[in-house]
Each structure stands twice: as structure tokens, then as C-alpha cells.
Subunit: 459 residues, 2 copies
Amino acid sequence: MSKKVPYRIYLTEEQMPKQWYNLRADMKEQPDPMLNPATMQPIKAEDLYPVFCEELAKQEMDETTRYFDIPGEVLDFYKMYRPSPLIRAYNLEKALDTPAKIYYKFEGNNTSGSHKLNSAAAQTYYAKKQGLTGLTTETGAGQWGTAMAEACAFFKIPLTVYMVKCSYEQKPFRRSVMQTFGAEVIASPSPTTKAGQAILENDPQTGGSLGCAISEAVEKAVSTEGYRYVLGSVLNQVLLHQSIIGLETKAALEMLDEYPDIIVGCAGGGSNLGGLIAPFMQDKLLGKASPRIIAVEPASCPTLTRGLYAYDYCDTGKITPLARMYTLGSGFVPSPNHAGGLRYHGMSPILSKLYADGYLEAVAVEQTKVFEAATFFAKHETILPAPESAHAIRTAIDEALYCKETGEAKTILFGLTGTGFFDLTAYDAFLNGTMTDYIPSDEDLEKGFAQLPKVPSLK
Amino acid sequence: MSKKVPYRIYLTEEQMPKQWYNLRADMKEQPDPMLNPATMQPIKAEDLYPVFCEELAKQEMDETTRYFDIPGEVLDFYKMYRPSPLIRAYNLEKALDTPAKIYYKFEGNNTSGSHKLNSAAAQTYYAKKQGLTGLTTETGAGQWGTAMAEACAFFKIPLTVYMVKCSYEQKPFRRSVMQTFGAEVIASPSPTTKAGQAILENDPQTGGSLGCAISEAVEKAVSTEGYRYVLGSVLNQVLLHQSIIGLETKAALEMLDEYPDIIVGCAGGGSNLGGLIAPFMQDKLLGKASPRIIAVEPASCPTLTRGLYAYDYCDTGKITPLARMYTLGSGFVPSPNHAGGLRYHGMSPILSKLYADGYLEAVAVEQTKVFEAATFFAKHETILPAPESAHAIRTAIDEALYCKETGEAKTILFGLTGTGFFDLTAYDAFLNGTMTDYIPSDEDLEKGFAQLPKVPSLK
């Protein structure tokens, strides 16, 4: 049975995008400005220089430059693991008996196990170019820390990773990977920073939190000569770098003369979703096409579907700038959902604005339904997905099943962000029936909302 | 800096090989026949039917059919994760400052994490076609078991995996992956077989062995209606299926107008090496080319470099047919080297014969040197290699450094069989300096040789 569309579509090296696309350049209204936490006034690029390297601070603030050239050194780095395949899910389609055509862009075929490497390579390159002598970051689940360790090993710049202590202890292999690439990995909270010392003094047995790890990483960066801090999601610069996902996808679909009716991506801080949808959202903003674009989040951390669109801190430690975004409150502690990468109280300001303006839909799904989809997918497509990615699989399957009901042969595209090799405790819990779902009550959410910062109204 | 050869070379689906290549068809002398352990007489295909499915038993015995058509269903399965990339190691070359050109064929981008899926798909397909109702196998490190679990989930045939008990306990995540794909995983020795019961009665606390797991898997297969047994290495049929690796590699190199001067592969039972070199060895056998072909084995398990070319059992339980091969004796217990996939006392009879006839070189390397190479490779090529694969990396680097000395711009090809995500305990040991090397003494080897079976001389 010969098929017109191959299972896996790879661009050639020459066909690879040479520029990143900045979605803000085509947005009719911009996201509200970030605020300096000290003054509560809109932040300027220079305000960010002590924390981020200058080129990245400029990218963070740039609302008008539509395309940024990808530096040659970053392109060469990308060529070691990109282009990633766009895969036609023939076997999933057959198993679902759906008339829908399903495509997925698979970002898991690199050692970081996810799309995170796309921005890590870019951020590390700019840091090296500026002559910085070191970088700091934090990691929870570990993908971002691993991606940064890979990039820093390659560009030869020291990296210190503050890893949330309970992850450090529960995922020792993630730590080992980072160390193999030469990164210094410190369990957070640690005695190496004032922030860590204070927390340890208060609670010596704490397992740590992402908020605390961010505080330590930022403190280490700003207090060490020649160091800066890097972050793997939420930021505008990260969405810019991740646009490579969507640009490659669109180029591959064009070769097949295809255009998606529905685009599905999981959403934690928004790095993957923002990258995947970028060029399709451009079409939507410019009135050239009108695909449905669906963000999928965990029911246990329903930022878009049940959060408020408000100014909030990006971290639980309240030391970062404030962004206007969908948020559950920086004090909201999501239940221990197994999709660690989606347990974030906020959402990319760009995606938040697009959602507020109706360009984006959102659904929240329960994790047992997510792992049901993950297991079904693995058996038919042979890839073991990360729990985060499986949120997108769940919704893609639901849409394909809806097509079966209606008989519509829609084209569905979803982002498969990564692999689940370090998430097998979660698969075990699903298999042995001990996995539970948790949906926060309205009261739970009210508590988070009550802690939102008061922000003076801006002109 | 534009480069003629891309970093990653993928064949298109149309360019993928449609046939497997049977090296035996071009060998001037055949490997000696396998012997029936009951009669010590050459085995016939029918003798194998109770254990292997018929099509595979025929492939096992076939010395004359040069090419076998890959069934459409297997080709379709391959398309979910193949073609695998041939990668030009530009960054490794640069880091080594060598005039050599280095290419590697990367087989790790699938959920089994190695090349094992190539034969698992084929064996499972033929089993399903024969109408079998179940399969059994054993697994040590876990790659083969995972590959079989993936294939059996896809072709919808039940699978029972006997997993060496110490691996079962030390690598629970490998077990979880297999279970996620629906396989039944049993710690071996187990009370489910007579072989297991006997061993447990003798030593209830034993951690098991591959030999014992094979005995249990075979017993379960032959004692269950409609069941057969499958094996992931050593066998002729496995080398046949794995020829897809070499055929793809050669097709990709031809597109680049390249031919390797040196081909390097790690060798445990020979499944990867035999597959990688197949079409190049054909050229050598037919006098069309004369690449150096190097098998790399652990110094702790030096089958080719220090073993005897003799008839021996393929398992430690002495229930399998005997093969004439390089062997350390089926009673030889290798030290706990971290490259579990290379801890095998014997070697593919085909590769053994080619080595005996001088078509193949072999080197043995110590594991600390192997992990040094693995870490260096990871930092420059971003891929975390499996310890097994890193044996080939070690020798490829050594050859590239030798080119630096001599100034020769040789073309080196090596096989990167898989990823090291489940081997981080080993990387930890290397990083913290607790990894040791072990080289068996001549006395150790003599003990193994003394146990070789007495075989009546054949005509």
C-alpha cells in the first residue's frame, strides 16, 4: 500500500528556517508591559541587563522586529539534532478509525528529551558572545537544566543549576545527565546563597520549590562577576527561539500541500505552544487562515481555563518583574501532578494576550485521561511520550474521535514535545491504578487570587 | 560557513532499502553448522520449529538467498522510526583537530533506545503471520525486552519477558516501559517454570542470570500452545534483519560520494556490528573494496581478542544448540562491566567465521577509557551514548587521533547503537571516580575454556 505522504517528513538542511519569527510584530495589540518590581513601572531593556545578557534583554523587549536572523553558530548547533521530524500518525489514525488526518511535530529526539534545547542553544550562544564567564538557572523536572548543560558544554561556558531539592533526590539520573555534560548541580535550597540560607534556617527539611530555586539562581547570577541568569519558558525571547518548531512544521506541511484545521499544544509556561503555533497564529492575525488553536493544560493547574488575567510575579519568591498574564497567583501550589513541566501558576504574556483576545482556545484535562492517551499512543506509534506532551495527545485524540462522529476529515496537528524516559514513576502509578486526579476547588483558587499583587493603574 | 555534506543525512522513504541482505550468500566459506544439543549432529530447520517460528527458522538456516524482501508490514513499522540518521561528526572532528572525516549511524532515536527494534519488528511480524498466540523472551539490560514489547503491542501479540532478577530490581524503569507497552515482565528465576523453581529451590536469594532467563523463556515457549521464543542477537536471522543499518548507511554515503576506510562497531553478540558492516563486508568478500572493519569489545569480556574458536552453547544453561564461534566458555562470568549488552561469552557464528578468516579486526578496550570517550563525545555532539555504543566511539576517536599523527584524512564510520538514559548509574560511577577496570587473567580464561563441551568431529 503506497502512500503519498511519508510517515516522517524531514526538511533538508537547506530548507531549515534561517530566522526566528517574533509573533508580537503581527499582534494588533501588544501584551501589557512587564513591571519593575521595585518601582511598579514599565521595565526597560537596560533594567534587565544585570540579570539577562544584553542581546536577550533586547529580544525580550522587541515588539516590532518581525524576523531575527538565527546566528550561524546557533544554526550549526541546531543541525546536530534538527530539523525534527513531522510525523503522520497513520497508525494512530487507523487505531482510532477516524477520517481525520493527524500530524505531530516530535521534539524529543535529543538528549534533553524535549524542545527546551532550542532556546538553551540560543541563550547560551548570546551569553558566550557577550563574553560572560558563567550562567545560572533553575530546573524542576530537569529538561531545561539538561538542555542548558548540553548547550553550555558545547559553547564552553560554566553552568550552575539550582535543582529543586525533592527533584534532586527523586530524579538522581536527571542530575547525572547534567553532571556528565559538566554542569554544577546544587540541590535547592542550598547554603550557597543568602536566599537559600534563610529558607534552610526556617525549615531545614524543606524539599524546596521552583520559586526558591529561581531566587537562588538569580542571586548567584547578579552577585557573581560576569554571570547572568537564563530561563526556559514564559519569556518573550523563549517564544521567539521556539518559533523554529512552528516554522519547520509549516514548511514541511507546505511541501505536502497541507494546512492544519486544528493545532494542539500542551501549555505550562507556553514555550512549546508559543513556538509551535507562531507562524499559524501569524496567518490568523493577518486574516490569511483561521485554524482552531487549542492550549491544553492540566485540570490540576488550570491557568488559562480558570485563572485571572492580571499582573503577577513570574516566581513564587516575588523577586522577578511582574507580567500581565493568566495566573492562579504566584502563591498557588498545584497538586503533585506528574507533568512537572505544566505545574506553573502563570502563562506566557504573549499567549495570555492572544487568549484574552480570542485567538486561542484552552481546555483542561485530567491526568488519568492523559496517561490513558499516552499509553494508547505509545502502543500504536511506538514513542513513549512525556506526560506534558501527552496532554496534547489527549486533546488531539478527542478531536479525532469527534471527527469520527461527524465524519469530517479534518487535519489535526499537535506538538509532541518530548519523551517520558525519566517519568516512569508516573507511568507506574497509572498502570497500577494509584494515580489520582485532582481538581482545585473554587475556594482553593480564590486563595491564590487573593494574593495577587496590587498594581497601580497604568496610563 | 557552508558545508557540502550536511550534519545529518536521512534517506527518503522511497530510498529506504526494501530488502535485507544475507551476508552468508557471499561468504566463500560458511560458518560451521549449529549442532543439536541432544544428538550433537548438525541441526535442520525443522529441529528449530518447536522453538522459533517457521519463517525465522528458515532464515536462520539459509546460506544462499542473497536478499530477502522486507514484508510490507515490517517496512511500515520501520517507517515509524527509520530511516535513522547518518551523522557527520563535524564537532567531534573539530574537537579532536583531526584530518579524518567521521560519520556515525545513530540507531538510538526510538523508544527501545537502540537498534534492537529492527529485528524485534521482523520477528514479531513473522510470529503473528504464523498465527502464534504468544511470544517469550529474556532481557538483561532491557533494550531487547523493550523493543519486543513495542513490536508486540503494535502487532497485537502477547509477550512474556523473563528479566534477570537483579536487573528487574535495579532497573525498575526498564520494567515499567515494557509494562506500559503491555508486556508481562517476570523476574527470573521465577516460580512460573520448572527451571526457575529448581534454581530458586537451590538458591532462593539468587539475582538470576541471562542463562537462567533464557532457560525459563524457552521452557515457557515450548510448553505453551501456540507460543514461540525470540532472541535479539547472535543468531543469523538477527544479523539478516539488522542489515538494514548497513544498507541505509551505504545508500546515504553513496549519495555523498563517500566510502569508509575504517568501519567500527561495538560487539557483544554481534547484532549491531553484523548489521552495520553487512554491505561493506560484501564489497570486501567480492574484492570490490577493502575497508578495515573493527569489532570493539570490553577488555573485561574479550571474546574475539582472547577467546577460542570452538563449539559452545549459546546460553549458560546449556539447553540451546551449539554453535562454532569465538567463546570464553558458556560458564564464563564477565565482571560487572556497565555495558550489559556486551557481557556475552560468545559471538555471532557469522562474525566469528569472518574474524577467523581475517576479514575483521578486533580490539578490546577498558571501560574507564570508554566512558572518557563517551563523555567527550556527549559534550561535542550533544548525544548521551549507551555504554555499549561508547566502545565504538572510543576506537573511532583513537583512529581519528592516529590520523592526526599521520596526517591522513581517512573516512571513519562507526555505529552509535543507542542512548544511555537508563545507564546513568554507570556515568555516575565514572564521574565520581569509583569506576574500575577489570581484565581477566589467563587463569580466569583457562577455567572457562576447560568447560567447553566435547564435540565429536564432523565430516
